[in-house]
């Protein structure tokens, strides 16, 4: 049990240390150390899961395990990348960055292990707040604007979610039950909560967490934040934060499935998911800023997951698998495109050409990750996307399948027309000279992730499949 608390406190401790260390270079080293410890702890906790805390507020259930695993791996990679990255940005003071990263890690951990919706909500709020200074890392007009929009929209969203929680709690009061926000209890009593309040609660929670997750049309902050934040922050936003918000949504989903109105909730999810994919398709066409393009790709994949959740049954496995794949692949995309951004000092396709020549490794990684994220074998996302499509067919939900495939095709065209010019071709001659070269510290982290993505496409370890099935079981209303 105490292990879990160490687990949450460790990053905070790291943050404290980072605050104390005066020197930029050494401070950066705190990140990988903490990350490594955290990863190790994660693995141990996965192997032997501690029992739920006596008050049942804290428990690491399969869903939590999944998101924890992704986040821990992603953070580990990003932390190692950060060392090399911060070396490039020596002039910038990185105290705030390191501290927020670590606090965010602890918050993410808390999200994963919280079984009490209130606690979950607080942790989520923490992640939101700690990300703000990270987005503002570059300290210019554009980044402040991005931060402002991120902060305002996400705070509004999170506030709405809070109200949703209150509704949920109140519905228990109205249903003459002892008030609680404990997940387990809610799932048990979900069926006999008061319908009207429960409805309202689900909608508010969906909108609240949805805006944090970036479901269209609540995604408006994403392109700005992802576009202006440094690559590694983008990776954590698209991988880590999305997963946290998604986990929160999944908790609601569990309750909804246990209650009588699973269909309606799934309908809504399906609709918003398809809408998100449509938005992504529209905005990715001829996107001239490849970081913003990645933001929309993130919207798309959140949409895919939502669609899968909406389909339910067999698709749930795909949804969870896609959560993992998306997180890892997005990591590769953001880190490699961060490198390219450094190398060209621009993220517009007008100036960035021939990355394969200028930065061979990052260029290749970017290309490979693009192919992966668009669901081409032999990479992981293919497995999850194909699972989702085929289960849509099994449910004979042809319209969904057709739209799904249509949007995927459109998105592929859009992304290809942006990525291929960036990666291929001649390096422009009037390129401003930047010191950046592909070196081990900035290349191996995404490389490792890419290897993972490839592995997931060729071979899903038994244990992982087991975990996914358990988690899917939870979503199907199992306990």
């Amino acid at each position: 049990m105490y292990l879990i608390w160490i687990f949450v406190l460790l990053p905070l401790l790291g943050a404290l240390v980072a605050w104390l260390i005066p020197d930029n270079r050494r401070r950066a080293l705190v990140l990988p150390v903490v990350a490594a410890l955290h990863l190790a702890l994660t693995v141990t906790l996965l192997v032997q899961t501690p029992p739920p805390s006596p008050d049942r507020w804290i428990f690491l259930d399969p869903l939590g395990k999944l998101s924890l695993l992704c986040n821990s791996i992603l953070f580990f990679v990003c932390a190692n990348y950060a060392v090399g990255y911060l070396k490039l940005r020596r002039k910038r003071p990185n105290r705030v960055l390191c501290i927020s990263l670590l606090v965010c890690l602890s918050a993410m951990t808390l999200v994963a292990i919280a079984q009490h919706l209130g606690l979950l909500w607080i942790a989520l709020e923490m992640t939101t707040i700690t990300m703000a200074p990270l987005i503002y890392f570059n300290r210019n007009a554009r980044s402040i604007e991005a931060t402002w929009k991120y902060l305002l929209i996400c705070s509004v969203g999170i506030a709405i979610a809070l109200l949703g929680l209150f509704f949920l709690a109140y519905s228990t009061i109205v249903a003459k039950q002892e008030v609680t926000l404990l997940l387990g209890t809610l799932i048990d009593t979900a069926a006999d909560l008061h319908a009207g309040w429960r409805h309202a609660a689900f909608i508010f929670l969906l909108v609240g967490f949805g805006s944090k997750m970036g479901l269209a049309p609540l995604h408006t902050w994403k392109p700005d934040a992802y576009g202006e934040a440094p690559g590694l922050v983008g990776a954590l936003l698209a991988g880590g934060l999305v997963n946290c918000a998604l986990l929160a949504l999944l908790r609601v989903y569990q309750i909804a499935v246990a209650s009588t109105e699973a269909e309606l909730f799934q309908e809504v999810l399906l609709g918003m998911g398809l809408l998100s994919m449509a938005f992504a398709a529209v905005f990715m066409a001829r996107q001239s800023d490849f970081k913003r393009m990645l933001a929309y790709s993130s919207v798309e994949h959140v949409g895919i997951i939502a669609v899968a959740l909406g389909l339910g049954k067999g698709a749930l496995f795909g949804a969870l698998l896609h959560m993992v794949n998306n997180a890892l692949t997005k990591g590769v995309l953001f880190l490699s495109c961060g490198n390219i951004h450094r190398a060209y000092n621009s993220k517009s396709t007008q100036f960035v050409r021939g990355a394969l020549r200028r930065t061979p490794w990052s260029g290749a990684l970017f290309l490979a990750a693009f192919l992966a994220i668009t669901g081409s074998p032999p990479f992981g996302p293919f497995v999850s996307e194909f699972t989702i499509v085929s289960s849509a067919f099994v449910q004979q939900n042809y319209w969904t399948a057709a739209l799904f495939l249509l949007f995927l095709a459109m998105i592929f065209m859009g992304m290809a027309s942006t990525v291929i010019p960036v990666v291929l071709g001649k390096v422009p001659d009037d390129l401003e000279r930047t010191p950046y070269r592909d070196t081990a510290p900035t290349v191996w982290p995404p490389l490792v992730l890419m290897a993972l993505v490839l592995m997931l496409g060729l071979w899903l370890p038994e244990s992982l499949q087991e975990l996914l099935h358990q988690a899917a079981g939870l979503l199907e209303g199992g306990r």
């Binding site: 305002l152 109200l163 700005d224 905005f283």
Partner: protein, 213 residues
């Protein structure tokens, strides 16, 4: 007692309109502060006495009534802007919309049953109305400060609802509301300072360089 509570809630609603109707930022800040004080008093009326209650009342009055308004007023002075010029939604329209939203809130509320002990109280409609007025300000005003004010209104609305749960699940509610407020507004305050440094104005319509063209 409950009658008094209801009257205070009505006062909250009026304050919403005050915020909606004014162009002077300083005034709307004061209105929100006053609303915060009122909210601070409310729990004392609806719940039986307890030290925990005292703590809440004190904390809320302090934060909502004093700390945050001061923070914002500072920002206003630093950026020296008194008024919200050409808002996205004019003052008269926003008053009208406010009225409509309030009415909607009452309709919604009538659809939703209350727990017996809260029968006949205005908490739900008041909170929904305040929430929506907050939204209205967020949607209708361009200046960062006005938007913070709108956010505060929303918070107040949520808090009003929270009061219904205050005794059922004590810690949770205040923790949520206060943390939200503190963090949200505090960080926003910081950001606002940065904005005013970057743009030498708090007009968020200037903050629209990031877009698709």
């Amino acid at each position: 007692m409950t009658a008094l509570a209801d009257q205070l809630l009505v006062l909250c609603l009026l304050l919403n309109f005050a915020v909606l109707g004014t162009s002077r930022l300083a005034f709307s800040v004061r209105a929100v502060a006053l609303q915060g004080v009122v909210l601070g008093v409310l729990p004392a009326l609806v719940h039986p006495f307890s030290w925990h209650l005292v703590a809440i009342v004190a904390g809320i009055i302090l934060v909502k009534g004093a700390a945050i308004p001061i923070l914002i007023v500072r920002a206003i002075l630093k950026a020296d802007i008194q008024r919200e010029f050409e808002p996205f939604i004019g003052y008269i329209p926003s008053l009208v919309l406010g009225a409509i939203f309030t009415a909607l809130a009452f309709i919604f509320a009538s659809r939703l049953p209350l727990a017996p002990e809260h029968e006949g109280l205005l908490f739900v409609p008041a909170s929904l109305a305040t929430l929506m007025c907050g939204f209205l300000v967020l949607m209708g005003r361009r200046k960062a400060i006005s938007q913070v004010i709108g956010y505060l209104l929303m918070e107040n609305g949520i808090f009003i609802f929270g009061l219904l749960l205050a005794e059922a699940m004590p810690v949770m509610v205040e923790a949520g509301a206060l943390l939200d407020l503190l963090v949200g507004v505090f960080v926003m305050g910081i950001v606002i300072n940065h904005i005013s440094r970057e743009f030498s104005s708090l007009d968020t319509s200037r903050l629209s360089t990031l877009r698709e063209e």
